[in-house]
């Protein structure tokens, strides 16, 4: 009984903590304009304040690069990034708890009702297999058939005999949504494993000889092998020129009709500036403006 009570208490404390976090998010926003107005009198050019961004975990590398570089341009502005997931990010942008929502899929029509979509970059989704796998090249149709469970053995696509393990992301993941949409397998995939992060997928594929999975081009490591799709290798160049078939947009979602705070606008402009395109490239995705 004592144990139960203490467990419940600690759970309750966690809830309290989360609630406090939520409160902070709101308060920083209201504090931002006040802070930015004070130093504006002394130094007209330098801005200050807080920009909160929230959303896609796939955009972590991109946001990391942007935020780091932005800090050297506008040291007075703090940009926060909560990697929560595209759905949460879009929700945060529409309810105002974040200045910019980050989504690794295009916005849905109902979300576009009160949000504006800006594509900042394009990300190729690499189809990855274990390095031991002899298969080098699959067509989109073959990948779709594997995903749907119509092809279940590597020997059917020119590999060694072995049952295919198809490893993907959980329902709702931006990467999964993009993969299923781009291979036209929405809601018909037969997964062997559904994992909750790109890193977990890569680890699972690298430790399972007969596995096939998918991950952002930017996250692919040497522990797995990215397949050619329809003869086209998955590289930044092929994603940019559109020859690589499986690619998706990285989106900044902002609230339609309400202006961004000065600090948020500065960050937005920075992210869209073609001069900063190199930051996207180093993060492994292809900038929309270059």
């Amino acid at each position: 009984m004592k144990k139960t009570a203490s467990m419940i208490l600690s759970a309750a404390l966690c809830v309290g903590l989360l609630a406090a976090c939520g409160g902070n998010g709101g308060s920083t926003e209201s504090a931002a304009p006040a802070e930015s107005s004070a130093p504006a009198q002394s130094a007209a050019a330098a801005l200050s304040g807080t920009v909160s961004t929230n959303g896609s975990t796939s955009m972590e590398k991109v946001m990391g690069a942007l935020i780091e570089q932005f800090k050297t341009v506008e040291p007075g502005i703090t940009v926060t990034y909560d990697p929560t997931g595209s759905g949460t990010g879009i929700e945060a942008a529409s309810n105002g708890s974040a200045d910019i929502g980050l989504s690794s899929r295009g916005l849905k029509d109902e979300e576009k009702a009160n949000l504006t979509e800006t594509v900042v970059a394009k990300d190729g989704i690499a189809v990855i297999v274990n390095p031991e796998n002899g298969v080098e090249d699959l067509t989109v149709e073959q990948i779709a058939a594997i995903a749907k469970g119509e092809i279940t053995n590597w020997s059917e696509v020119g590999g060694a005999d072995g049952e295919i393990a198809f490893i993907g992301r959980e329902a709702g993941s931006g990467t999964r949504g993009a993969f299923e949409e781009l291979t036209e397998t929405v809601d018909s995939c037969k997964y062997t494993q559904e994992l909750t992060s790109t890193g977990a997928v890569i680890t699972a594929v690298s430790t399972t000889p007969n596995a096939i999975g998918y991950a952002s081009l930017s996250s692919v490591e040497d522990s797995v092998k990215a397949l050619k799709v329809g003869g086209v290798e998955c590289t930044e160049e092929t994603v940019l020129d559109g020859t690589y078939a499986i690619q998706r947009p990285f989106v900044f979602a902002t609230k339609t009709g309400s202006t961004l705070s000065e600090a948020a606008q500065a960050f937005y402009d920075f992210a869209m500036d073609p001069a900063n395109a190199g930051l996207y490239t180093t993060a492994g995705v292809v900038p929309a403006n270059s």
Binding site: M1, K3, T4, A5, I8, L9, A11, A12, V15, G16, T84, G85, S86, G87, T88, I90, E91, G162, E163, I164, A165, I167, E170, A171, G172, S173, G174, V186, D187, Y191, T192, Q193, E194, L195, T196, A200, T203, A204, T207, T208, N210, A211
Partner: protein
């Protein structure tokens, strides 16, 4: 509450008044702290019921509880049957108990009755450490060591299966089973064992025929506590069970009640039926854990009454 010496005169009375005030104040403070825990329990219960019921009403209780298909993000024909999750949670927990309880019970007998003091101290420290390892670490090691081992041992395409989850859960519930059973075994009166030994029974016979039955309800409490831990675990099994909403099978990738919530919560949009259905799963899980706690309390009470 007994006061041996009382200061006579006005200043003493005044002082006592102040002390009484402090005493009452502190009493009030402690009471408030106690209320906080109660308030949170009530809040969480109410929150789960309020946010869990709408989806159940929309889906239909029988379709929700006994539907065998879960396709929450299917745009044309979403399905919200959680029978696979319920059965997986039950099978997974049962598997963990089947593997974990014999090991845990025998360890407890060893620690309580047979082990030399120094060996027992080492084992007890190890068990305590095992209890302190964060579940994500169990998951990580399960994912990188156990899952490939299961794949090779049973010649599967992927080792992320119910079996792997059972093994991880079995290890995770060991500490609670060992420590609670050991306490129960230690509480068996020495006279019982001495009498048994005096009648010519061997030590092992004594421990299994006399001590264990005498400690039965304590050991049962240990098992129930283990069930409670296993059914509520999410992080570790999310990393080893594969998370596909299949009907459970030992060598199939499966999703538990806990992992069903954890894996979809971050991406479900607020207010959608998917998000609400996740709350409904949480409500079902909450009821399961409540039942287990009631059972645990009943067992402990019986134990106490008997003692």
């Amino acid at each position: 509450m007994t006061r041996t010496k009382q200061d006579p005169g006005a200043p003493g009375v005044k002082k006592r008044g102040a002390r009484d005030l402090l005493e009452k104040g502190m009493n009030g403070l402690f009471f408030l702290c106690g209320l906080v825990a109660v308030a949170f329990v009530l809040f969480i219960t109410a929150y789960l019921v309020i946010s869990g019921l709408p989806a159940i009403r929309q889906i239909g209780l029988t379709d929700f509880l006994f539907g065998t298909e879960w396709a929450s993000t299917n745009k044309t024909d979403p399905k919200f049957g959680i029978l696979p999750f319920i059965l997986t949670s039950i099978y997974g927990t049962a598997g963990a108990i089947v593997i974990g309880v014999p090991v845990g019970f025998l360890t407890a007998v060893f620690l309580s009755k047979l082990a030399p003091r120094r060996t027992a101290a080492v084992i007890r420290t190890a068990v305590d450490l095992l209890a302190g390892i964060p579940s994500v670490v169990y998951g990580l090691i399960g994912m990188t060591v156990l899952v490939p081992a299961v794949r090779v041992a049973f010649d599967l395409s992927s080792g992320a299966t119910l079996l792997a989850a059972m093994v991880v859960l079995a290890v995770m519930i060991l500490p609670s089973i060992i420590s609670v059973s050991e306490t129960a075994l230690n509480a068996v009166p020495k006279e019982y064992e001495e009498a048994s030994l005096a009648l010519g029974a061997t030590e092992i016979e004594t421990y299994f025929r006399v001590s264990a039955p005498a400690a039965a309800s304590g050991i049962a409490a240990a098992v129930v506590l283990g069930i409670g831990r296993a059914i509520g675990e999410a992080m570790a099994i999310m990393m080893v069970a594969g998370n596909v909403a299949n009907m459970p099978g030992l060598f199939k990738s499966v999703r538990f009640l806990t992992t069903a919530i954890a894996s979809e919560m971050s991406y479900s949009s607020v207010g959608s039926l998917q998000r609400n259905a996740l709350f409904s799963i949480a409500l079902v899980l909450f009821l399961f854990i409540m039942l287990i706690n009631i059972l645990l309390n009943a067992l402990l009470k019986r134990d106490r009454n008997k003692g």
